[in-house]
């Protein structure tokens, strides 16, 4: 807003469009209902009424109901079936926190680096923003991201909405470790959040020096509180829990710290009586986001759309089946296909009626092929961990066009 113009002048200037704006809002809210009840005649022609004024903060169209679903006060899930492309709007990025979203002021927040470094340092947000910045797109996925309790009435959001993708900007962690003087024997670091859980994970120095970042921006804006404001750790391709939010401390060590999260929680029991530990990389996975429950489709052409991703690199191929796995077709991948990133795939499909079963199967650049649930269970055990479950999942198209989750995988 131009500071030279007195505010009352602006208000007066805008007064003329106020009435029209009110009418516009009302018509937009009822537009959907009017169109279905009595056709377009009930709608006011938006080309015959001046539109609304510019606003300080944009809003979604009132008839667009994008929202997260919340889980038991500890998580919320991204509406995968309602999004296009690969970028998750920041306000729809999934959440998982262990003691709520802390109220942190960047002015009073610092990042301490200490332990096996030559000099212990504390960095303010301003300090961090003075380092050469790095920006990348990648997904973050909670390692426990398969929820089938809804049975056949399970949407992609409720099935595996604990994955989201953002463009993250921050400073490579290696720059900060270099500043502090990493000692040769340092092989692990403890990352600690400044939330009420003081959540901690042990991270290998190898990952820290590879592609780890301390990020302060998401999709171009400062991090949102629920995503770690003012800073979080970003470990591309690693399970969400290790991407410590509200990051306040990094302690270098020559051994892991064996925190509660990496012992009692994010470990994976196997049928042979052992449990995998530090199983941090997210394996390749895919899901068809459309058509999916709760959609009901009509006969004719559809585009099967979905997301595929791998924590080990790029997606190189996605296979799609419309007959429950008897035949597979190679889907189109929408570029640029980035490593450790959600990748959009599509395949045109004509539904001519009768039952159909839609499946997708991702392959990443390491040659890893997304497994069936039976394959995973064969290695791990029938009641194996909810963590790192990435099976092929499917959608059943009923004769009437209703799409249901294939609960029996």
């Amino acid at each position: 807003m131009n500071k030279n113009i007195p505010r009352r002048v602006i208000i007066k200037g805008l007064a003329g469009v106020g009435g029209a704006l009110a009418a516009y809002s009302t018509s937009a809210q009822t537009a959907g209902m009017a169109a279905t009840q009595s056709g377009a005649a009930a709608m006011q022609d938006p080309s015959k009424i001046p539109g609304g004024p510019p606003t300080a903060i944009g809003q979604r169209a009132t008839e667009v109901g994008l929202h997260r679903e919340t889980f038991a006060d500890v998580a919320s899930v991204t509406p995968l079936q309602d999004l296009h492309g690969t970028l998750t709007p920041a306000d729809l990025h999934f959440e998982r926190h262990h003691a709520g979203v802390p109220a942190i002021s960047a002015q009073h927040h610092e990042l301490l680096i200490h332990g096996m470094v030559d000099k212990s340092l504390k960095f303010s947000l301003q300090d961090l923003q003075r380092y050469p910045a790095s920006t990348r797109l990648c997904f973050i996925e909670c390692s426990g991201n398969l929820f089938t309790f809804g049975g056949e009435r399970t949407s992609p959001q409720m099935l595996c909405g604990l994955t989201s993708q953002s463009e993250w900007t921050g400073v490579p962690l290696r720059s900060l470790l270099n500043e502090a003087g990493l000692q040769p024997k340092a092989s692990w670091l403890l990352a600690e959040g400044g939330d009420a859980a003081l959540m901690t994970r042990s991270i290998t120095v190898a990952k820290a020096l590879d592609d780890a970042m301390v990020v302060y921006a998401q999709n171009g804006e400062p991090l949102r509180p629920e995503q770690g404001y003012p800073i979080r750790l970003l470990l591309p391709g690693w399970e969400g829990n290790t991407n410590v939010k509200w990051l306040r401390r990094l302690e270098l060590s020559d051994q892991p710290f064996m925190t509660r999260e990496e012992t009692a929680k994010y470990t994976d029991p196997l049928k042979n009586g052992t449990a995998r530990q530090f199983s941090v990389v997210m394996d390749a996975r895919s899901i068809i986001t459309s058509p999916s429950y709760p959609a009901r489709i009509e006969h004719g052409w559809h585009e099967i759309r979905g997301l595929a991703w791998s924590g080990r690199g790029r997606i190189v191929r996605v296979d799609v089946s419309t007959d429950g796995g008897k035949h597979w077709q190679v889907a189109d991948l929408h570029g640029p296909v980035l490593p450790k990133a959600h990748t959009r795939f599509t395949l045109s499909w004509r539904w001519t009626g009768g039952g159909a079963e839609l499946l997708s199967r991702a392959v990443d650049e390491t040659g890893y092929v997304q497994p069936s649930l039976q394959q995973l269970v064969a290695v791990r055990g029938q009641a194996s961990t909810p963590y790192h479950m990435n099976p092929i999942v499917g959608w059943l198209v009923q004769g009437d066009g209703q799409v249901l989750f294939k609960a029996e995988m």
Partner: protein, 190 residues
Amino acid sequence: MLALVRLLVMLLFARAGAIAAEPGISLGLGRTVSDAEIKAWDIDVRPDGEGLPAGSGSVAEGERVYAQKCLMCHGERGANGINDQLVGRIRNDAFPFALDPSAKKTIGSYWPYATTVFDYVRRAMPYDRPGSLSDNEVYSVTAYLLHLNGIIDREVSVDAASLPKIRMPARHRFVADDRTTSEQFTDGEQ
């Protein structure tokens, strides 16, 4: 020609006083911190005992603290509460978690290190007042939970010297991530 352009660009930036920051160079940012500042935040405890504070705790004292500050969420004697079950061993200390969905992951049946109990309770518990317990109270609650799980006797007290030496029943169960060899799926049809 290209070399000349490069030279001109370099001169241009040199005149403007700009130096591109090379990866790996120090910018001299961040402030040095006192030992007291580090100590205020450095509360983690490793399995080798590094980070354990002075003090000690008894099972009896832990029982008293638990009744006041833990029982409301974790239940009588560490079970049947509204939050995580903390107490329980499995017959023969078996590890059936991948086969039996009713098997409960408790401190006694699953946690590999006693030091983790101290670290976690000190940093994050009680949920509504994290960080409010004294070090002796944390030692005591840790002792009580280890006792309820049948890992230490009632008369045993724990401190920085003894806690790292306690061998947890599930300690030997944890293995490195082997998915890149054991889960090399190549065909979704198998």
